[in-house]
Amino acid sequence: MARVLDVRNLSVTYKNKNKCVYAVSNASFSIDQGDSMGIVGESGSGKSTMAMALLRLLPRKKTVVEGEAGFLGQDLLHISDEQLDRLRWKNLSVVFQKAMNSFSPVHRIGDQIEDIYRIHEPNATRKEAHGQAAKMLALVNLNERVYKLYPHELSGGMLQRVMIAVSLLHEPDLLIMDEATTALDVVTQGQILGELRKMESELKTSRIIITHDISVVSSSCNKIAVMYAGSLLESGHVSEVLARPAHPYTKGLLAAFPPLRGQRVVLESIPGYLPDMAARHEGCIFAARCPEAMEKCKSAAPARTDLGNDHFVSCHLIEVEKQ
């Protein structure tokens, strides 16, 4: 399978007059064609910042982005703006959380879709744009009647569907969804995730879903990456990571999540608080809250260890085990 995205040592730092906030440090992961990866993390984990950095949508004056992000043979983080603009939406598109604000309120939806379509097809006729849009709207189970409407005439769920249809206009290689279904109701979310899975088999699109909800990942992705306080702690196939979590944080997260069926279990919280992101941390970022922390965890950062079958984890416990 062809590799679509290969992120190496990505770091993002927010800078202002008084301090630096290390929002993402040294994150590495990769996505193959047809993969769907869920990046999970709690607030402050840096998951959205990472996505925005890959899309180069962070304010340039206030952020420093380091590392590499190989995408179809180019480095997303280092190509020129013009080169990047050629990739945007054609090969790489994004859906944000707030469906209600994803469209300009004073322009018709169809007008906005056409504008976005024409970015890469400047000579397209109105009919062509409309045709492609109708095709994508059908894919997300929407009547093409929405084409003539204004955003306020649609519900949040419908708008989010339109947004997904728009993101697929050029059948991109990679789609990033940043909490795109979080604000929706259970039924609407379930249906959109179902439609996405169906569609991916038709369009050969790879997908990254960024969410705080592991159940969204488990039901719609084949890979998962777990982030905590700016660090990517564990990644791998959903079936493997959720069944045999290697990192204590992943284990903790899973223990805090109630299962839908079967035996009721006792839920457990992870004690402690997020570390200060404005400080550099010598050891493992999770050490202060880790129930299995050792002396070493406080002084040295763990390396990314390959457990085979694309399962990676950054934890001293694993390193010890392997030796």
Partner: protein, 328 residues
């Protein structure tokens, strides 16, 4: 069902639709939003009742009705056989001591100008629970200790913005508990908090209510979590309870087509547990003058002619399971 400690009887809340009628109060044709539309359900003392449903189903209005933040258009709630409507007229403070609420957003639950001690003491003082300052201080410290908020003396001096969401929500629960209520309504109490701290809040709520035999109405859109905490679950759709029963039964063998769709669409973290979601078409309509048939009829995959004609009676099934559907 008359053996229930708490009995919600046929409670309703209708609002006039904005912009219908005229400024001068036009006659007749005012449309009504029937946010809660004849809800009846009972709870035993110490029971946890889960209420689930999508946004707009009326579950939050129900919470506000139970705590009398809204006045019901019709119906009443009885606690230990006493009408809360009457209780409010006779001794309003007693009512507020009896029924307490925990809100969704802990960051906004306290006025930003007071310290935690001031915030916790105020209800103790208003309700005459601790008459003098020293006893209130002691009680506040005890409360924090009982909720694992340590060091209590230090936290008492803090302002709300200096604490984390999880700490604030625990304080909100403790404040509600400090009045010794019979019922606590928890309206999405953890949905704004991170997963890793949710468990503590839930466990604390359950422990505190169990030790004092407090009945809990747990309102949530998170179905897995509701199953985890609730003894019984009521499923709401457009202002009505469409299905009610033991938590396990509702999740594992639902009868109403809406409940079935809802649960099949609910993602699980267990990958072995992938269920094909049941499609229901359309968006949930608004509860403006619904009926006369079953409110779910136009989205229902199994609806028949009768479903559009009359609203189904609520029928009893095995155990305490009840469902309002012509086809179930």
């Amino acid at each position: 069902m008359s053996g229930n400690y708490i009995e919600i009887k046929d409670i309703s809340k209708f609002y006039p639709v904005k912009g219908s009628g005229t400024l001068l109060g036009g006659k007749g044709s005012r449309k009504l939003v029937k946010a809660v539309n004849g809800v009846s359900v009972g709870m035993a003392q110490g029971e946890v009742l889960g209420v689930i449903g999508e946004s707009g189903c009326g579950k939050s209005t129900l919470a506000r009705l139970l705590t009398r933040l809204e006045t019901p258009t019709a119906g009443d709630v009885f606690i230990g056989g006493v009408s809360t409507g009457k209780m409010l007229e006779q001794d309003a403070k007693k009512f507020y001591r009896t029924v307490q609420i925990v809100f969704q957003n802990p960051y906004d639950a306290f006025t930003p100008r007071d310290t935690i001690e001031q915030l916790l003491s105020r209800p103790l003082k208003n309700h005459g629970i601790c008459p003098d300052r020293a006893s209130r201080h002691e009680r506040c410290a005890e409360l924090l200790e009982s909720g694992n908020l340590r060091p209590a003396e230090d936290i008492l001096k803090r302002y709300p913005h200096e604490l984390s969401g999880g700490q604030l929500q625990r304080i909100a629960i403790l404040r509600a508990m400090s009045l010794d209520p019979a019922v606590i309504v928890a309206d999405e109490p953890v949905s704004m908090l991170d997963v890793s701290v949710r468990a503590d809040i839930i466990n604390m709520l359950l422990e505190q209510s169990a030790s004092k035999k407090v009945t809990v109405v747990f309102i949530s859109h998170d179905i897995a979590l509701t199953r985890h905490v609730a003894d019984n679950i009521a499923v709401m759709y457009l202002g009505r309870i469409v299905e009610y029963g033991a938590a396990q039964t509702i999740i594992e063998s639902p009868l109403h087509p809406y409940t079935k769709a809802l649960i099949s669409n609910c993602a699980s973290i267990d990958i072995a547990d992938r269920v094909e979601p049941i499609r229901i078409d359309g968006e949930p309509p608004t509860p403006i003058d619904p009926g006369p048939g079953c409110f779910f009829a136009d989205r229902c995959p199994v609806a028949e002619e009768i479903c559009f004609r009359e609203y189904p009676e609520t029928a009893a099934r095995a155990g305490n399971h009840r469902v309002a559907c012509h086809k179930a």
